[in-house]
Amino acid sequence: MLDEVARALRNDARFCAWQVSEARGRSAQRYQVFTRVESRRLVETRQWDVRVHVPLEGGRIGESSFTLVDPAQPLSPELDAAYARARLVNNPAWTLPAPDEVAARAIVTADARIVEAAAEVGDEVARAVEGSVARAGGVELSASEVFCDYRRVHLVNSRGVDRTREDTHVYAEYVLLARGAGDDEIEVYQSRRARGAAALEVEQQVADDIVAVRDGARAVLPATGLADVVIADAGVEELFDAFVAHAAGTARFEGWSRFEPGAHVVDGARGDLLTLASDATVPGGLGSYAFDDVGCSGRRVDCVVDGVFRERACDRRTACWLGLPTTGAWGNTVVAPGRSSMDELLTPGERPLFLLTRFSQLSPHATTGAFAGEIRAGYRLDRGGRTPVRGGSISGVVFDAFARARFSAETATRGRLHGPRAVRLDQLQVTGGG
């Protein structure tokens, strides 16, 4: 099918450039409710994504795309429709990559066991979660979902690029329950993603979550006021998202990036200076790729170094539009650790200190950097020890809050983020009781 589409595109003089990629995948999905397997699912996917460019006056281009899901679907009407759409889209020109621009690198993005035995791996992960919970006692597994996915992509384009990649992806989600005060139960929700099952670190994660749910059962609402806050573990995963958004070419092209080369990304920084990169080459990284959606190889881009914006991460299209080098789509977010140990970050000062590990969502706003997170798990720390907290929220603006940031020396991988295990933000607004 891929060859047939490529042949048709090659013979169609209306298009000055084209690309077709074939994606075939399969997914084994397992759902459990308490001890009962609620559902088992086997899913096959396949599609052919086609992109076409047509030349327009003044060096501009028209472009469009379409997806075939059925090999029996007649190709000719789809090409005619794509041409009709593309000739109306009058955009600045950009080119698809040539073979000499996409140096192939060996990037590990597939786990052999998932490729060979996805359903079995899913069972093993689910049983590992269940077994860890059962051994702990006093905590119940409410539900789990484990997906093991495999996908193979073959991409060719009009300039001679011909590349294939394989990706695997394992997703594990579960909920633990523990008895709280009176009749109340407390839950802890967890979701982890990785290329392979081992990287999920299921036993350690479940052990941490068992502590969290037990402590949550006696948690109190934090008091309202300014506090020093250490955000750790799952809480860190979204914390850098607004920096990522402003470091990307799209923000520059659309006119709202606040970052300029050579300028500080945070004004008046008095804490650790941010060093942030996009790196699509991290072995086994969720954001790693052999090539992106248009066939460009990924690389490391040191966007922010010691608090200063250096280089913009640009996919092929925005790179052409901005006249910048193509770096490929954003890969893994890599943040340099700090000099302070976790113990040092967790030393209380004059203000209340909180260690917060889970939020409903933190989601810093891409444009403004404003964030807020309802506290799902954490502790108030004082010289007398730790008091679990739950409920209430923290809020701020990352571009302001990072002026007082300190990063832990210890590192961790959460999703696509490889960076410090914890970030301390002093004088953050906590809204809770009182």
């Binding site: 599609q47 109306l88 006119g255 444009t367 807020a372 799902r376 929220s393 809204t431």
Partner: protein, 461 residues
């Protein structure tokens, strides 16, 4: 493609499966559409990611076993049936609750387009979004990026079960506008629009709506955060809808009851809000963007009264959850696509109207906030915590707007506290049509939410 042609092949597959399991059904889906997008610096006319495939489901007494394939042809369906039979053999049969297949029914349903999308040329549709984008720029020089997007989606679905053969043809259109502004190092963005079932008649956005969007976005530039604390507030219909969705929408999804993840399970028949609070989920609302005729498990759409006069009445259910709980089925068994499992999901979720005028509610605030432009929220059905975010709140003093604006606005708190504090409900319900909803952090389905304006006490972070 006319999906109805596939009914016979799917019925044969279900009959085959029923030889080895007590219950089976088939669900096929074809979703296609096109998005027209005009931004400040580029345009696009792109088909939406298509969905095309079949999922076969077989109940072995304990587990719903499913095989999904990305094709509707006979060979693919036969292959899926063989794979599912193999899975059934490997899993064996279990003793468990029997699934009620429902009363026999064979019907076809369709949403009408008053103005067929196909009656507008590509040029005409593109011109509509370009006009909105240009209008945004004409209104304010501080606009850095303007995006107008017109989308139309057609979804055809077949459900074939032991007793039912149903087909629906759903058509939806929406127009969305996003504004990004910057001034003096301060940035703000805001989006708005409308989405409804139907055709090109909904691919519009009134000039006044665009103007208000730009005006509100400009007011957010450099706006301060509201000091954290408890406030008397009026939520407009948009923010009220977000509250409905997050507060007791997710909290009454019955699959969360089965997992003991919903505190509401212990509160059925009990007071959870003030007597002014009525709340519904209704997939049968004519014309709303998340409406449908039957859910993905073959149950016909009908309204569910979730809360009446502050009393929690009934959960939303899917097939398996209702079976395990012994509760009535509602038409809320929905999938992201054939590639994903069916869960209990909301459709159009909203508070019922009251007797106050919106302006009177605002005028009654001595010192408070008018909260507008919902952004997003997160549920906590187990703890009844809530987090909702709105883009904008206007300060009200002595019943009048002072001109002071806060942005963004984070509402947190304990759901029954919020609902119990409601002491004013306006007389008109607004339902927004742009929502999508995840289950946790995935499984996205089309939903809407809305409500009248609510006067209440809320904790602002």
């Amino acid at each position: 493609m006319d999906l109805r042609d596939r009914k016979v092949a799917l019925a044969a597959a279900v009959d085959d499966l029923l030889r080895v399991v007590p219950y089976a059904h088939a669900f096929a889906q074809v979703r296609e559409g096109t998005a027209f997008r005009a931004t400040t610096r580029a345009t696009a006319i792109e088909p939406l990611d298509p969905v095309c495939g079949v999922v076969l489901s077989a109940w072995n007494g304990e587990t719903m076993l499913e095989v999904s394939v990305p094709s509707l042809d006979d060979d693919a369906v036969k292959g899926a049936t063989a794979r599912l039979r193999d899975l059934i053999t490997r899993q064996g049969s279990r003793t468990g609750p029997a699934i009620d297949p429902g009363a026999p029914l064979e019907r076809d349903f369709a949403v009408a387009e008053h103005i067929p999308v196909s009656s507008l040329s590509l040029e005409e549709r593109l011109a509509r979004v370009q006009a909105i984008k240009d209008r945004v720029h004409a209104l304010d020089a501080r606009v850095k990026n303007a995006v107008a997007r017109a989308t139309h989606v057609r979804t055809q679905e077949i459900f074939v079960g032991p007793t039912r053969r149903l087909f629906q043809d759903l058509r939806r259109a929406e127009m969305v506008c996003l504004v990004v502004m910057e001034q003096g190092g301060h940035a703000a963005d805001l989006h708005g629009g409308r989405g409804r079932q139907g055709g090109a008649e909904h691919l519009t956005l009134a000039d006044d709506d665009v103007a208000h969007l730009v005006e509100d976005c400009a007011r957010m530039l450099g706006a301060e955060r509201a000091p954290g604390g408890s406030y008397r507030c009026v939520f407009d219909g948009d923010v009220a809808g977000l509250l409905a969705h997050e507060a007791f929408g997710h909290g009454t999804e019955a699959d969360m009851f089965v997992k003991r993840r919903a505190k509401g399970a212990g509160y059925l028949g009990k007071q959870v809000g003030s007597e002014l609070v009525d709340m519904y989920d209704d997939p049968s609302l004519p014309g709303e963007a998340a409406s449908y005729f039957f859910d993905h498990e073959g149950h016909l759409a009908a309204p569910t009264r979730i809360i009446e006069r502050g009393v929690l009445l009934a959960p939303l259910t899917d097939l398996v959850s209702a079976t395990y709980l012994g509760m009535a089925r509602t038409a809320n068994g929905r999938r992201e696509s054939v590639q994903r499992k069916a869960y209990t999901r909301m459709s159009n979720t909203f508070f019922g109207k009251g007797g106050d005028r919106h302006d009177a509610l605002v005028a009654s605030l001595d010192d408070g906030l008018l909260v507008r432009h919902a952004r997003n929220g997160m549920e906590d059905p187990k703890g009844w915590g809530i987090q909702c975010e709105a883009y904008l709140a206007e300060e009200i003093k002595g019943g009048k707007r002072t001109g002071r604006v806060f942005s963004p606005v984070i509402i947190t708190g304990y759901v029954p506290d919020l609902l119990t504090s409601i002491d004013g409900v306006s007389d008109a319900v607004e339902i927004g049509g742009l929502g999508m909803c995840g289950k946790g952090y995935k499984e996205w389905v089309k939903v809407t939410d809305g409500g009248p304006s609510l006067r209440l006490t809320a904790r602002i972070a």
